[in-house]
């Protein structure tokens, strides 16, 4: 399924990219240039469209990388993605260090880790080490987040 879906998605991407490429604003001086801001994006867009079309028509390769997870594993991937998106939401609210600890805890649980020592020590230890290295030793200012400021 993915073998066919990816070339189709690439074609859709190429069309959208071309659409945007042709909409790049040019002043009269730039428009007169042999190679302007639109030229290479247009060439790339057409190139991808043609190659994706060829890829969609051609038979898929016999040997593909082995990724044959169960439905549970695909759900686990979705949960990992949700945890990453949550990390992005949490950074401006709770600050980087709490967000990193929360991300690590969430991904460990999603991945199936159940040992309490690992679940406690890995997130706290990683966040503390990163804070010590970056904020204390390298003296990089990291926004503490809206909740703590």
């Amino acid at each position: 399924m993915t073998r066919r879906l990816v070339p189709l998605a690439l074609m859709a991407f190429a069309v959208a990219y071309l659409w945007q490429a042709l909409a790049i604003p040019l002043d009269s001086w730039s428009a007169a240039e042999t190679i302007n801001a639109r030229s290479l994006p247009t060439i790339y867009g057409i190139g991808l469209l043609v190659l994706a079309l060829v890829s969609a028509i051609r038979p898929p390769p016999r040997s593909l990388p082995e990724v044959s997870g169960s439905r549970r594993r695909w759900l686990s991937l979705a949960a990992h993605c949700a945890a990453i998106a949550g990390f992005g939401v949490l950074i401006p609210l709770a600050g980087l260090w709490i967000a990193v600890a929360a991300l690590l805890l969430a991904t460990l649980v999603i991945a199936g880790e159940r040992r309490p020592t690992v679940l406690v020590l890995a997130p706290l230890g990683t966040a503390a080490t990163a804070w010590l290295l970056i904020a204390v030793i390298l003296d990089v200012y990291i926004d503490p987040g809206r909740w703590l400021s």
């Binding site: 073998r3 945007q20 994006p41 990724v67 044959s68 926004d143």
Partner: protein, 494 residues
């Protein structure tokens, strides 16, 4: 040149730099041993650490990470038949069966000594040729740069694995397209930014590299789940009597081949290791030492190729592989512009990086032989622990380079796209290469067009550009020839 070597030795032997080479080799070996994590991921994961160092030290550490990761990959290839990197796949062909026969220590020792010999050959060849090539490269102008960039991109197709030409080209095109996001440098117009300020400076290479390699690999591991791995007994790494004599000619031949293949843009360590293994098979004599040579050949070749891939990077500023593309990104983020002027402008860095490669090889040998039995426990680290750490470190690394939460979402999107491409059999190294070369290609092509006043014949006016145009044509003909040969074989199997 000798003056340069002395400068390089002084830089590389600085205690702080030595300590960072050591740390880089250790970290590279450690990361490279983890199945699926290769030199690109290792270097990408170490970028946040490198930012705290001065440019010369940072690059010296990264060279150590590169070598360490390539060597680490051989360990997981030999012990559990799970190559950490594509360039060590050929090592597993004879290495894993040897380990299963209870000779894991011998296989690891063969890999370590052959890597050292290949790396040493590569470093010496780099010392000899780099300055000569840098002098030649000063004659390059924008038409030559444009052609050599086209050559590097064309080589992706020529050197792609069988059946991967089309996918490699698509990946390279995607990389070129991603490179067009942001403010156009010549006209100052916004391209593909959708009015977002976060995108006006373009996409960060750290983000693209971490998303498509580290995070996409973590996703693959999460979906693939825990695999069954055999655990061979790891004895102290030691060669058998007669091994050194038996593998010496193989190592010499493979090192020379590896370096030459490594110099070619787009070829790299993977192709070098397969070429060397294939060549070794043709020289098979039968007997006990055949598999020893089968391990030594790809290991010597891939390490020599690592040094070879630094030739176009340091002398022309053009990365020949995905790994050197990431290294170029690291250099640019330091404000260091590799190329013909690097030798004149920053000789300490130029020679320091080259000399530290040799020192890195020595460190690897000294470090890995006694530590292999302990370090190799990493290959048994459970994925349920490995995946969360890869995710956390890659996101932390990207956030720290920009301090912008928007990059987290961007990275998630790119990682999912990278994962889908991998699932459909697309190689991702050409994508990274295309992304890095995109800006350079556009800049040089525009400059050439301005110089030539719109006449494309300008590419053929200078002898050097004529030679490069010929090389590009040859590279384009290579896949067509392969296709024709394959069709002929299909029509006439006998």
């Amino acid at each position: 040149m000798w003056e340069g070597i002395v400068t390089g030795l002084a830089t590389a032997l600085d205690p702080a730099n030595l300590a960072w080479v050591f740390a880089g080799c250790l970290a590279g070996t450690f990361i490279g041993m983890m199945p699926g994590l290769g030199p690109i991921t290792a270097i990408a994961l170490m970028i946040p650490v490198s930012y705290s160092l001065d440019p010369a030290t940072g690059l010296i550490m990264m060279a150590g990470v590169y070598y360490g990761a390539v060597f680490g990959g051989s360990t997981s290839s030999i012990l559990i038949n799970a190559p950490g990197v594509a360039s060590t796949v050929a090592t597993s062909f004879d290495g894993y069966p040897m380990a299963r026969r209870g000779q894991a220590g011998r296989a690891l020792a063969l890999a370590a000594y052959a890597s050292f010999a290949g790396g040493t050959f590569g470093a010496v060849a780099l010392l000899l040729f780099a300055s000569a090539l840098a002098v030649l490269a000063t004659k390059f102008q924008s038409p030559e740069y444009t052609l050599i960039l086209i050559f590097a991109l064309s080589s992706i197709a020529a050197f792609a694995e069988r059946g991967q030409v089309l996918r490699s080209l698509i990946a390279a095109l995607l990389g070129l397209m991603l490179g067009t996001v942001g403010t156009d440098q010549s006209a100052g117009v916004q391209r593909f930014t959708f009015g977002r300020l976060d995108l006006t400076d373009g996409l960060s290479f750290v983000l693209v590299a971490m998303a498509t390699f580290a995070l996409a690999e973590a996703f693959r591991m999460a979906v693939a789940g825990e695999g069954e791995t055999a655990r061979p007994r790891i004895t102290h790494p030691r060669l058998h009597p007669g091994d050194a004599k038996a593998v010496a000619p193989t190592v010499a031949r493979s090192s020379a081949l590896g370096f030459l293949v490594g110099v070619l843009p787009g070829a790299g360590a993977t192709l070098a290791s397969f070429f060397a293994y294939d060549l070794q098979r043709r020289f098979r004599r039968g007997g006990e030492t055949d598999d020893a040579r089968g391990i030594a050949a790809p290991e010597a070749a891939n390490n020599a190729a690592c040094s070879g891939s630094f030739v176009p990077l340091l002398t022309l500023g053009i990365p020949g592989s995905g790994t050197t593309a990431v290294l170029l990104g690291v250099m640019l983020s330091y404000g260091v512009q590799p190329g013909p002027r690097l030798l004149e402008a920053q000789p300490a860095m130029f020679w320091g990086v080259i000399v530290s490669m040799y020192i890195g090889n020595l460190v690897l040998l000294a470090l890995n032989l006694p530590l292999i039995p302990y370090l190799s426990r990493i290959v048994h680290l459970r994925r349920q622990v490995l995946v969360p750490f890869v995710i956390a470190f890659s996101l932390l690394g990207v956030y720290l380079t920009s301090l912008n939460a928007f990059d987290v979402y961007l990275m998630l999107g790119f990682a999912l796209a990278g994962f889908a491409l991998r699932l459909a059999g697309f190689p991702l190294a050409p994508l990274l290469l295309g992304f890095i070369l995109s800006g350079m290609l556009e800049e040089n092509l525009r400059r050439t067009a301005l110089l030539a006043d719109g006449s494309w014949g300008f590419f053929l006016d200078r002898p050097l550009s004529l030679v490069l145009a010929g090389l590009c044509a040859l590279v384009w003909l290579a896949p067509l020839n392969r296709l024709r040969a394959a069709r002929q074989r299909e029509q006439d199997p006998s």
